[in-house]
Structures are given as C-alpha cells and as structure tokens.
Subunit: 214 residues, 2 copies
Amino acid sequence: MKSTRIPRATIQRLAAYVQILETLSQEGEKVISSEGLARACGVNPSQIRKDLAYFGEFGVRGVGYYVQDLLTAIKQSLGIDRIWNVALVGVGNLGRALLRHKILRKRGFMVVGAFDCDPFKIGEEIAGLEVYSSKRLQELAQELNVEIGVITTPPKRAQRAANYLVEAGVKGIVNFAPVRIDVPENVAVEYVDFIHHLFSVAFNISLNLSKGLF
Amino acid sequence: MKSTRIPRATIQRLAAYVQILETLSQEGEKVISSEGLARACGVNPSQIRKDLAYFGEFGVRGVGYYVQDLLTAIKQSLGIDRIWNVALVGVGNLGRALLRHKILRKRGFMVVGAFDCDPFKIGEEIAGLEVYSSKRLQELAQELNVEIGVITTPPKRAQRAANYLVEAGVKGIVNFAPVRIDVPENVAVEYVDFIHHLFSVAFNISLNLSKGLF
DNA sequence: TTCTGTGAAAAACTTCACAGCG
DNA sequence: CGCTGTGAAGTTTTTCACAGAA
C-alpha cells in the first residue's frame, strides 16, 4: 500500500469498478483485463492500473485480474468490506425513497434510524423503521452505533440536522440537501445533488445545438 | 464569450454557484465578491473568477458581482434560462420520489411524461401525471416535445430505456441506474449514483480512523 | 482603494510507453 | 507472448500574483 495522497477522482472510479466487477462476478466471469474493465466504464486502461496501484498489486501479469479477488481487494481498500450503520434525517419524499430502496442495504449501508422534526411524521413506520424525533438523535445514534448520517431535509433544516449528527458523534455525512453545511474538519462530508447533472445535460445539449447551427 | 473548451468541473461548479446565488438573491443581497462566493461554496476565489471568465466579464472591478445579473448570466450560459421538458422512465421508489419532488420543476425541468413497462403501474396517476407504457415513448415524447430523458429503472432495464429515449429523439439523458449505457455520441449522458458518495464517505472515515491510530 | 480579469507558475491528474513478470 | 506495474511525458485544472478598471 502506497502512502501518496489518493486522488479524489480515483475513489470515485473505484466505486464504479466495484459496480462493474459485481456484475461480472454475477455473470460468472473469472478474469478481466484492465482493457476490458476500461471499456466497461469508459476510461483509459492505464488509468485503471494506476488507480489500483495506489492500494497494491492485485493483477497477474500476462493474465489480468481475478474478478472476485479484485472485488474483495477494492472493497477492503475503500473500507466497504463491512456494514456501516446509517442514520437518516428528514423523512420527505426523498428520505422515504431511500428508506424503501434496497440498494443502500445491498451495498452495506444499513439505515438503523430515521429522524424528522415534524410531529406528524414521528412515530410513523417506514420500511420497518420507526421515525423518531430529531431531538433524540444524540441519545439514539449512540445506542444504535451510527457512524454515517444522511441528510434529506429541506435546505433550511440541513445545518441543524448536521449539528445534531455531529453532536451524536457521526464521522461522515452524505448531504442531499442543496446547501453547504459547516462541520468540524474531522467529519467527512459528501454532497449529492442530481440537479447539477440535469444542468450539465442541459448545457451540453445547448452546446451541441449551437455547434450544429454554426 | 471565449471559445476554449470549458472544463467539466467548471460546469459542475457553475451549478453550485446558481444555487448559492439564488439563496443570496432571496435573502436580498445585492452584491457578492468572488471571495464571498468562494467561501460559500468552499473553493478558491480565483477559481470562481476563472470559471466565470469562460463565459464573459460579469463583474465590476472594485465592487464585485451584482447577484441578480450574475445569476441571469450564468443561467443563460448554462442554457437553464428556460424550461426543459423531461420524460421519466421507471416509476419505482426513486422515480416516484422525483415525480413528487418539487425541486425538478422549480429548477426548470418539467416532467411531462412518466413511463414504465410494468402493466400494474401503467394507468396509475402520480403527482398529476399518468404513467404510460414505455412502448409509447417514441410516439408520446415527440408529441410532448421531450428533450431530456431521466432513467430510474432497475439496472437491467436501463439500456432498453435509453434505446427508447434515443429513438424518441431526446438529446440528453440523466441515468440514475447504476450501469453504463450506450448511446450515440450526440446524446449527452450524465450518471447519478449516490452510492459513490457513500463509498467516498466510508473511505474517508476509514482513512481518518487509520490516521488517528498510527 | 478595492476587487476583477488574466497571464504565468504550480499542482494535480491522465496517458504513454516500455520494462518485467507469469 | 500478453498484460500488469510504473517512471516519465503530456495534459488539464487550480492557484498565484499583479495589472488595470471603477
């Protein structure tokens, strides 16, 4: 394992590799070359070899990578070779969808607590989980051994949700609310905002159109 | 307007600037400096000036940027100064959440058609929109003047959904399914996969933990 | 004076090209 | 022989630093 700082982009790509390798594994493929993997995820083959080299030597020269071994190695490198307990704050449309979506659990992220500040929602049961008052976050998160918080509140309540989560001792937050949040620097934050992707598509369409016209 | 190729990262950041500027605008702020904006979205001030310079000169030296003017200018540059018609394919948990979420519409993306291949879902009404058979995509998308497709199907059906959308003449696709899709190169594609962000947070937590231990 | 716009420098990231191992 | 692992080259993106306009 190298000690160089690992590019953020590499982490993003590793996540993509995991997805492709899991599909390959399900399809019964045993071996994949960097070129095959590259084609499957639209990047350069040496990019893949470089990305993997940050964490170790997982391939066999002249052969390629054993799908199952590589999958295990990447998951271990990313720290996703185990289950992470997650608390979800904000039970709106998006929050509900995430709670019902099996993908979180399938990927090793188990939502062990759902929280909201709306009295009408507190006590409701969604996907087998009771909705608790956000004020009980600190108390319950410790009890439930929560490590990651997911914020799906409206933008105005995101900072408060973040505060509760930090107080409750979570070490990472995935924020779906379209606002920046302030947290201590030892808390890892990721922002998810699909509107950005729609903007990006809109921009590219406009660009293509103008290329066609002139 | 410069003719250099605009970095993808710039487009992503412009989308973030839009969000912040809209908040500022609502709060009645008239002027913002590149430094203020930089602080609000966690980037370097000259990054912001560079990003904006790709599209023109929007600032006033010694003053900063007029919030409203800058907002208008960025929206125009991104091609989001108008309404885009969107077709959504795949009415599962995520699809439903997007249909009900007001944010799409608020940002200028109007879902004008919802499609699914499950006979049980066809005919259902969600957020005032009838669910149609995916097979009718081509016919209806043209009628409804759809320009962007959003795929929220399970991974296995994503490629078929993409094919339908391309046949229907959409020029851009936002794919929420965790698989790569093949489309003609004049169709802009963006992938949305929040699991990547959870992976990223998990990795960073693991990293912080190991830093703390050694 | 303040704060933008921008060349030039620095850093980060990607691709190349090939040595080296199975 | 084929494909990985990797230094070196190349490219892109970010940051610096300062000239110049309001």
